[in-house]
């Protein structure tokens, strides 16, 4: 989380993108010059199934206000089944976070193909908007990591 000079809340957002679909989708939205907020930062992973729940918790600990995971559409996984596992893991993890009273909208999974540059930008815009509405992450923060 960072506050810009006029103290308007600018969330920190981490986006995990699978190398074959979503990361390429992100590149495409760049190639098409489709805007989305600069506070969205992408981390490239081979497949959505590489994303360990610990990474997501880690992001929140380190100051992220929202975390989104993007992968190939179900059935299109480069590794055939990776996103199916990711889907179950994230569903359960998000459900648990919600159960612990952590705002459920801070986490999201979207399937974005390499051809969906527009969808990628749109997704990031809506997610960033959502997180800005939610405000700073307080319920899963680690005070030691605050400035």
């Amino acid at each position: 989380m960072q506050m810009s000079e006029n103290e308007k809340f600018v969330p920190t957002i981490v986006a995990f993108c699978c190398n074959w679909c979503s990361y390429a989708g992100a590149d495409l939205s760049g190639t098409n010059r489709l805007q989305y907020p600069a506070n969205v930062k992408i981390i490239r992973v081979p497949c959505s199934c590489r994303v360990n729940p610990m990474f997501i918790l880690r992001a929140f600990q380190r100051g992220a206000d929202g975390v989104i995971l993007c992968g190939c559409h179900p059935g299109d996984c480069h590794y055939t089944s990776g996103n199916f596992y990711a889907r179950r893991r994230m569903t359960l993890l998000f459900s648990m976070l919600d159960y612990l009273g952590i705002e459920r909208n801070r986490t999201r999974v979207e399937w974005v193909s390499a051809a969906e540059g527009a969808k990628f930008a749109a997704t990031m815009n809506s997610f960033a908007e959502e997180i800005t509405k939610l405000g700073p992450n307080r319920r899963l923060e680690d005070l030691r990591c605050k400035k």
């Binding site: 380190r62 100051g63 030691r144 990591c145 605050k146 400035k147």
Partner: protein, 341 residues
């Protein structure tokens, strides 16, 4: 002698709270008690024990030692300590009061642990005698009289109220400062209460627990006893006993990478943990048996050896109540002395 009715207790605490922060045992949602900062409306728990002992006040589970602020290639060192204000701990039982002496001998002997000392010096201990001990109590085995606890100020529990007396100058001064108007009653009531407690203590199942076999110089006698294997076989290697223990004083020092640098902190460690004695060269205690033995040998032999024969256990019984598999120091002592009986 000073006397206060149980119903008036909050008035006294209110007065005390004006002088300094006062921590009192309070029931929590799980039906157990923790120390909480007293404020108007706080209800003092009637529980015999808090789950975590009062040692937390001087030796907290985690504590920052130093912080390194790293700005690119520049490093500043920051000391997180700030001067502490005075505080009082109310309702400390005789066993826990004794535990402070045991900790002092470790932390206040050279080299002095200034973090610990700092807190200790700012504290005031308001102890309370027991009137309803549990079957797990065996403080008497270590020469502790739960009817006559040490401390700066002592509350002797009677049926309807408490007889209050200061045991130290600090205590005298405190009572004078807060200027609470106690009732005056003659000693007899207090003596009655003490006698009653003593009488119950004598009837407790562990009242006759024998400690004479242990103490300084007994290392050879107990270290290689075969019983250790059997005693430790069910041990899960968790830290419950050590963490609820008022006298366990082991800690680990760790670094935490913050977003701006590194925070070096210490946190409780347990000799029951498999990595407790892990070193670059390996681990001298490879099996749970050795770790288990260490804990009890320390309480019953090593500590007395280094501290004028004083045992490292105060018989509060917390570990008896909370060990997941109900293995504990009492079973150990009995097993190791079985034959000699």
């Amino acid at each position: 002698m000073k006397y206060i009715a149980k119903s008036d207790l909050n008035l006294f605490l209110a007065a005390a709270a004006k002088a300094m922060k006062v921590y009192v045992p309070v029931d929590n949602t799980s039906g157990k008690a923790d120390y909480k900062l007293w404020s108007e409306g706080t209800v003092v728990s009637g529980a015999l024990h808090t789950t975590r002992s009062a040692k937390d006040f001087f030796f907290p589970q985690t504590e920052n030692l130093v912080e390194f602020k790293i700005d690119h290639k520049k490093i500043d060192i920051i000391d997180p300590r700030e001067e502490r204000e005075n505080f009082a701990i109310f309702g400390v039982r005789a066993c826990d009061v004794r535990s402070f002496d045991i900790l002092d001998r470790v932390f206040l002997s050279e080299p002095v642990d200034t973090y610990y000392k700092n807190r200790r010096e700012h504290s005031l201990i308001i102890s309370m005698s027991c009137d309803h001990p549990h079957e797990t109590c065996f403080c008497s085995a270590f020469g502790i009289d739960s009817s006559e606890p040490a401390g700066d100020v002592v509350f002797t529990t009677a049926a309807e109220g408490y007889y209050v007396s200061a045991k130290t100058e600090k205590g005298e001064k405190f009572l004078a400062d807060i200027g609470y108007a106690f009732e005056e009653k003659d000693e007899s009531g207090a003596e009655e209460a003490k006698a009653k407690t003593k009488e119950i203590m004598a009837r407790l199942p562990l009242a006759k627990l024998e400690t004479s076999a242990f103490g300084a110089g007994k290392t050879k006698e107990f270290f290689n006893r075969p019983e250790w294997s059997e005693l430790s076989e069910a041990c899960l290697g968790c830290g419950t006993c050590t963490f609820v223990c008022p006298t366990c004083q082991c800690y680990d020092i760790r670094d935490f990478k913050t977003n701006t640098g590194v925070r070096r902190f210490r946190c409780w460690d347990s000799c029951m943990y498999s990595d407790f004695t892990k070193m670059a060269g390996g681990n001298p205690r490879l099996t749970q048996k050795e770790r288990f033995r260490q804990r009890f040998m320390h309480k019953l032999v090593y500590y007395p050896e280094n501290n004028d024969g004083i045992f490292g256990c105060v018989g509060c019984g917390r570990c008896l109540a909370s060990c997941p598999i109900h293995m504990n120091i009492v079973k150990v002592m009995k097993k190791l002395t079985e034959e000699s009986k």
